[in-house]
Symmetry: C2
Subunit: 384 residues, 2 copies
């Protein structure tokens, strides 16, 4: 566990086992009574607040009696999974926009700092049974976003999701899979290796505790996390009534950018996207157009304001990677990893964190210091 | 000539031979001095107003000395071509939105009333070298618009234009070709038969006098007439910097609806359309979506307000066709033509005029009286 010391953490672990993701009624209990008190009442069988039927209350009680939060934490720790609550420094603050539907906590696999990565992230979502065109567009957009230093977020599913994750990984980029099941229990089975690779080079996150399985409603509710975590959501291919449209509409409600990739008007798998584009979504055809929109402020910020966190406050791993960047010009992640005496995957994780903080930028396959970072490095040595 | 009696007509015919379409400088001369005076000065060699170079003035003078308006009118008449000026009852008033770039006059082949037809018209434009997908979409949209009683306007060119005209004709619908050359001299040559067929079942119109040939600038300036004549412009396929984008932007400037048909983001022939759709244009995938937009007011008007012109003021041909419609239910254009003792092409021309006036509506292949028209027919006979 990082950023520990949150006394609510065990209670939150308990609740992720008892309460379904995104439930706003129990979310209100937590807001009004606090997690510890909600846990106490669930354990003692004292109904916290009105809002659930007697039958549902019994269901929650039954789950509460079976919950073993310490065991969940042990299992997670053994599988390299950490648990974050809203008080954690690694917690992505933008999830607070979900109000009472905010996740109770997040289970995380992977070495990168989730909060840093999510600052500069875009969701790419779409049909599981996508066309070759959809897979081609998803992979191309993901690679283009990765090359521009953006983190690609998707749901780990077949089709568009998988193509997006692979596109980002293939470009040596950062990607986050948000699962609708325990992060130690990849779903779908056919993506076991892909999700393991994402956990190595990127992050695999989810609201469900270890070993939990996905359900149709969990898939739908998972989408709100994808929407809230990112600066914007791009729908690559989606039929009418597709789950990807749920993500897009959640993004719209949350004030995030919503984008769609056009396709032939004759393709049923583009019909849902076209429906969005006839509303407020913005048509995009390549990564540059996506970044033009989601980066409207952020793209310029590092140059204008300089790095957002003083160098001294960086974590030691990030500081080592920063020190390994050349004073001029760009270097590949592999060279930087050598200089920082770490693995390439770890170097990539730190580079994307440093990117979010305004220290470095990515150009094609190379990483270099931003102008502001160079000025702050050189100032002591160069008086002019 | 219909709607004659405009004393300016011969002078306007003269000017269509001397002045290039859409020229705003000479358009201002006409507005400030009147056509007769501009013609007099061109004939007498007296420079009307500042604004053109000496060299250009000499060019206009040379053309003026060669102009033979009476001969042009004779040639036109022999080819079944009439000439309309802005004072003509058949003049489409919406062209006045072009200001000083308003056509000096229009040469028209075909039996329908241009003003009536243009009231309920939509432009379908796009690439000459379109893909099969583009041709398929153009033909399908045109057929769908025709089946909904809308007139399809295009430029008579290869590719999207031709597919749009053919789609409308094939659905027994109304279509107008706006040419960038004399309407007696179809261009392109390969569309000679298509354009002759449009003149039979629809209308072929243009600003250039008989026998005149197209030039690159005439193609571009023709597009403003397509944009101004119609309620909205749909771009089906267009590369970056395509002439169809000129039409779409002219439509936008004129406050007309601008629409685009999406295609694969990987297709260069959809790139120009996507550029439009990233601006203010509306994405459309079928005729229903087009009509939803352009018909926003007009679709309901006939029912709300009844026919816009009293029955007694209809031209005799239109009155005969109206009388041939069944009191209940629908009839095909062929049956109506039989009842009105005219040809099917003439019946179609009148039916689309009556449609614009709110008397009839088209459902698939059948035509029927609107509810308002039936009430106005039956009132004398049925007191209830």
């Amino acid at each position: 566990m990082r950023g520990g010391g949150d006394p609510d953490l065990p209670a939150r672990v308990f609740l992720t086992r008892v309460i379904e993701p995104g439930d706003e009624i129990t979310g209100r209990w937590v807001r009004e009574l606090g997690v510890a008190e909600v846990v106490r009442r669930l354990r003692d069988g004292e109904r916290p607040l009105p809002g659930v039927s007697g039958r549902r209350w019994e269901g929650l009680r039954a789950r509460a009696l079976r919950a073993e939060p310490e065991r969940d934490l042990d299992v997670a720790r053994a599988a390299g999974v950490r648990f974050l609550g809203p008080g954690d420094v690694e917690w992505p603050r933008q999830l607070d926009d979900l109000g009472d539907a905010r996740p109770l906590g997040l289970w995380v696999r992977g070495r990168a700092d989730l909060r840093m990565w999510a600052l500069r992230s875009v969701a790419l979502v779409g049909a599981r049974a996508c066309t070759e065109y959809g897979a081609h567009m998803a992979a191309g957009l993901a690679a283009g976003l990765a090359e521009r230093g953006w983190v690609v977020v998707s749901g780990g599913a077949y089709g568009v999701d998988g193509a997006a994750h692979r596109g980002a990984l293939g470009a040596g980029g950062a990607t986050i899979a948000v699962l609708a099941c325990g992060v130690d229990r990849p779903y779908p089975r056919g993506h076991t290796e892909l999700i393991a690779r994402i956990a190595e080079q990127g992050l695999v996150i989810g609201e469900l505790p270890p070993g939990d399985h996905p359900t149709p409603s969990r898939f739908v509710l998972r989408n709100r996390v994808i929407a809230a975590l990112t600066r914007g959501t791009v729908v690559v291919e989606a039929a009418h009534r597709s789950g990807s449209l749920v993500t897009a509409r959640a993004a719209q409600r949350l004030g995030r950018h919503t984008m769609g990739v056009p396709g032939p008007a004759t393709s049923a798998l583009s019909a849902g996207v076209h429906e969005l584009l006839r509303g407020d979504a913005v048509l995009v055809t390549d990564a540059a157009e996506v970044v033009e929109l989601v980066g409207a402020m952020g793209e310029l910020a590092p140059d204008r304001r300089g790095p957002v966190l003083p160098r001294d406050l960086l974590a030691p791993g990030a500081r080592r990677v920063l020190a390994a960047l050349p004073g001029r010009g760009a270097a590949a992640a592999r060279e930087i990893a050598l200089g920082a005496q770490t693995t390439e995957d770890d170097a990539i994780a730190r580079l994307y964190e440093l990117r979010a903080l305004g220290y470095v930028e990515r150009h094609g396959d190379g990483w270099k210091l931003t102008r502001q970072a160079m000025i702050s490095v050189r100032r002591p040595r160069s008086p002019c």
